[in-house]
Symmetry: D2
Subunit: 142 residues, 4 copies
Amino acid sequence: MNHNSREKMDALQGVAELKALQQNEPIASFLGMELVELSPGYSRVAMRLRPEYVNFNGLVFGGIIMALADQAFAYATNSVARPSVASQFNIHFIAAARPGDRLLGECRVVRNGRRVGVSEMTITDQDGRLIAKATGTTIPVR
Amino acid sequence: MNHNSREKMDALQGVAELKALQQNEPIASFLGMELVELSPGYSRVAMRLRPEYVNFNGLVFGGIIMALADQAFAYATNSVARPSVASQFNIHFIAAARPGDRLLGECRVVRNGRRVGVSEMTITDQDGRLIAKATGTTIPVR
Amino acid sequence: MNHNSREKMDALQGVAELKALQQNEPIASFLGMELVELSPGYSRVAMRLRPEYVNFNGLVFGGIIMALADQAFAYATNSVARPSVASQFNIHFIAAARPGDRLLGECRVVRNGRRVGVSEMTITDQDGRLIAKATGTTIPVR
Amino acid sequence: MNHNSREKMDALQGVAELKALQQNEPIASFLGMELVELSPGYSRVAMRLRPEYVNFNGLVFGGIIMALADQAFAYATNSVARPSVASQFNIHFIAAARPGDRLLGECRVVRNGRRVGVSEMTITDQDGRLIAKATGTTIPVR
């Protein structure tokens, strides 16, 4: 087997293992986040915004949007280097989401280095409207 | 009444109104976040880490740490300019927290401008150990 | 003239004014940064890395990479809302650049709001290799 | 020699080596940045703002403020783990600086981990006025 095939197999195995692991994930059940796509270095996670996610201003709590981005971030980065832990995360809120919206969090690993990883995330609603964009740093801890 | 007294009264009224508003806050009940201190431009929020907050790697989900920081951020910034909305948030994870920990999220407004605000947040555990540090940008939307 | 034509004309005028303004810009001459493309909400800036840009570790100084990203950021955001001032900037360094490289800094405005703007920047070298990615927040101060 | 003394000696040696290295640093001469204090995990750097640092809006270029923060960041982090490279940097601009100002950039390492470091920076002017606050991530590459 050549080097590229080996790498590809490792990557697919990483994805398969992570898919198995996340099936009984406490935080995913608690917040209602569902993994809808996972490939090496890429993930997509869906979440319905419940009435409980509203804050004192009557708006969807920003921390919930961050949680969705962070979940996509965790899946995409751990699909290529597990375990990886987040060291840093930055988000820009673009438009307000509403209770009832079904949001999609998408993450793409931009750099998968031996010592550090960098990823980009996008949050959109069911109409494709951009809700937030984020980036983050991960450290592989193998 | 002189200018300084007026400003001080406005600030205290902002704090009083926000304290009333947050008593039936859906996200605070849902995540178990409790406002323990609020003064103009400063807040402290406590959260007990439940078993539901664990992710597929068996660690406390980073999004939960961010939610606590964001809640302190929301209270501190809205105590001086309400409503204010978060435009940006950046966090550095310093040490892992464990289920059962009682975390404290603290926020201090560094700049309360007419067009933009800047704040700093710190997350510590019950032993005073530093868990995360964050900063953020708010836009007053009066 | 209809609303869309008016908006388009305003945008093109903003670009023309900014192109004129930047011709004798002190920092651009000092650092050797050249505006190579400008359209409403988009800019591209080039910079040759001089031997003076090296730090004590013998590497290109990160602050120089940030300066290039910031210059593209300033042009793109001011082309749609002038004057706009940067409130926040975040960068991820992806690969090292070398003295002699000709870098390109590119910026795209993601959101051009009345109160706040959000932009994305990319730094690449002459071979198209990704050097850094950045995002930032601007406040229009008209 | 006990463990603590050994660590202290290593730290002081790191500081001494870095002080020697930075004496002929190209970027420091080019931008006029002067190291005024260095101890393990802490640095202070001064820079006079020259007329060349002004941008097309007639304001001091943000990239110059970032460069000063980045220089303090590089010194403080490399004093405890050399070489360390910056992976990420985030800044909030608080107040405008003016040509002629003598700025101080200060950096403190908050976490000096085996795999990753986190630091905080502050920029003030000659009157102690806060100009900017920044944070950053470094990777030790020994």
